[in-house]
């Protein structure tokens, strides 16, 4: 196992490449990815777990598994759920330091802003930030 953050991103870019920029297909594909996310614990759909700055509701939680972090996410809209699933796939199972220091180049490469618009782009940024904040929190916990 254990692909690096960079490798997972490259894999995603390749997958989206097959869709050849067809917006409808891309959206369907994104929603399909969202449907494959593991079920989110309903009890965790609390106000605290909502990512602030997203237009749709996005819930995000994280847990530590050894020195690796696992993320869980859900959203009330299918497309956003698909988008957050990409981040979950990239960051889950990675080390806190790698997450914090990672550079995400895949959104630009798959033309993210073209199919989510600026408002959702902002929300996407908020999700990334929240995931990095979790990593930061766990990092200080590990180091204690």
């Amino acid at each position: 196992m254990s692909q690096s953050i960079k490798e997972v991103q490259e894999e995603i870019i390749e997958e989206f490449g097959i869709l050849d920029g067809d917006m409808e297909m891309t959206n369907f594909y994104v929603m399909e990815l969202g449907q494959k996310l593991p079920e989110f614990n309903e009890e965790n759909k609390t106000e605290e777990n909502i990512v602030k700055g997203c237009q749709s509701k996005v819930w995000l939680t994280a847990e530590l598994n050894g020195d690796r972090i696992n993320y869980q996410a859900d959203s009330n809209t299918a497309i956003t759920k698909g988008l957050v699933s990409l981040l979950v796939r990239i960051f889950s199972g990675q080390k806190a330091d790698d997450i914090i220091e990672s550079e995400l180049f895949f959104p630009q490469k798959i033309g993210m802003e073209r199919f989510i618009g600026t408002q959702r782009s902002n929300g996407f940024g908020a999700m990334i930030k929240q995931m990095k904040l979790y990593a930061l929190a766990y990092k200080s916990k590990i180091e204690l």
């Binding site: 917006m23 369907f28 929603m31 749709s56 299918a78 199919f115 989510i116």
Partner: protein, 413 residues
């Protein structure tokens, strides 16, 4: 396209050529623009009018004596006259240019509201209102202790007139309702509402943002006291609109903003105000857009409002029938008397996803609460998908939307 030509006295193909923006691909598909209730597109005549003004006679109005200033002033005042006729105001001076509906309502709230509404008085609005016709009244109420009462909305999206009657009393100073709802399309019985309000001595403000381009408006026959509208929802430019007010009311109201143009004489001891409409038009107005607004009104008049209404209604009925065949689709606001607005939800699918998917197919709709959060709460929904049609839309475009909706529903259910 046999279905679009010369139906209801209009030639949609010919009309479409007057709207350059329609001729483009969005996400690889031809644009179908169904967000007309938010703002509709502009015909070439409007775009040309703007160009001609800035290229030919840009000047500040009312003050200069040079030729360009004269020309600009005349064109500006021509729009006032044309708009006055368009809504059948008794005289052009009853038309005040503003930034649009929102500013028109705020103007009345800040002037009429401050002077004629006080502690213990009541303002009646409806559950169908846009935030623009809610918040200005809340500000008045907060300041002077007046109370806001709300007309209930029935399940089909119409107003509960019986309950409205029970709200009316000698305490009612103002009734502020929309002519037609932006979220649902419901056309309200404003003639009845105005007459009932007048019986208790209340004044009536009509928010005509949605209605102006679609319905015949005769402010004298309606006997409304104020009528607010936006140019950009009438095929005109953004950034301008108007407030109609009855002369005696406008004269009795204090000015809105202080500045140039709105004064007769200024001294540090005492300033006397200009006559209406200038009393309410402080500062350099949005000259170019006001001038171009006339071309938009001319466009509507030339095509014919009743022709436009018939075509739009045809589109609505067509879309409604097809939409109802989509599994799980529910129309929100299904009054018999509606503008061409199709607001709907699909069970189990978030409106955002539908809007996003339609956009992927080049189809522009609006999703969300449409600035009517209390109304969404009334229906216990977060928002709707809203397709609103204009003179240039076609059944072929509607077919594309319906096909796309079928694909989405099939995928997500």
């Amino acid at each position: 396209m046999a279905d679009v030509s010369n139906i209801n006295g209009i030639n949609v193909e010919a009309i479409r050529t007057q709207f350059p923006v329609l001729d483009q691909m969005v996400n690889g598909k031809p644009l179908a623009y169904f967000d007309n209730a938010a703002t509709n597109q502009k015909p070439t005549s409007v775009i040309k009018a703007l160009e001609q003004y800035y290229e030919g006679y840009n000047a500040n109005i009312h003050r200069g004596i040079h030729t360009l200033a004269e020309k600009a002033t005349k064109a500006f005042e021509d729009t006032r006259t044309t708009l006055g006729k368009f809504i059948n105001a008794a005289e052009p001076e009853e038309i005040i240019f503003t930034k649009g509906t929102t500013e028109s309502i705020n103007l009345v709230a800040a002037t009429f509201g401050r002077k004629f509404i006080s502690n213990g008085d009541e303002i009646i609005i409806s559950g169908l209102e846009h935030h623009s016709n809610i918040v200005p009244w809340q500000l008045v109420a907060e300041e002077n202790g007046a109370k806001i009462r709300v007309i209930d909305v029935l399940d089909n999206g119409t107003l509960d007139i019986r309950q409205f009657k029970s709200l009316l009393s000698s305490k009612t100073k103002l009734v502020a309702v929309n002519h037609a709802s932006n979220s649902l399309g419901t056309i309200n019985p404003i003639d009845e509402i105005i007459a009932l309000a007048h019986e208790v001595g209340a004044k009536v403000l009509i928010d005509g943002a949605q209605a102006t381009a679609h319905l015949d408006i005769d402010v004298q026959a309606l006997d409304c006291d104020f009528y607010a509208l936006s140019a950009h929802k009438c095929y005109g430019p953004t950034g301008t609109g108007a407030l109609y007010g009855k002369r005696e009311l406008l004269e009795a109201m204090p000015p809105y903003q202080g500045g140039g143009e709105m004064i007769k004489d200024v001294s540090f001891e005492k300033t006397t105000y200009n006559d209406i409409p200038y009393k309410f038009e402080a500062g350099t107005p949005n000259i170019g857009d006001v001038i171009a607004f006339k071309s938009a009104l001319d466009f509507i008049t030339e095509v014919g409002k009743s022709n436009i209404a018939a075509h739009e209604n045809d589109l609505l009925q067509y879309a409604r029938e097809k939409a109802l065949q989509i599994p799980g689709l529910r129309i929100i606001g299904d009054s018999d008397n509606k503008l061409s607005v199709l607001s709907f939800i699909v069970e189990g699918i978030h409106p955002f996803d539908i809007g996003q998917m339609l956009d992927a197919s080049g189809i522009a709709v609006r999703t969300g609460h449409h600035c009517t959060q209390p109304l969404m709460e009334r229906f216990k929904i977060e928002g709707t998908v809203r397709a609103s049609f204009a003179v240039y839309n076609t059944k072929v475009e509607i077919d594309r939307m319906i096909e796309s909706l079928h694909r989405i529903v099939k995928f997500l259910k």
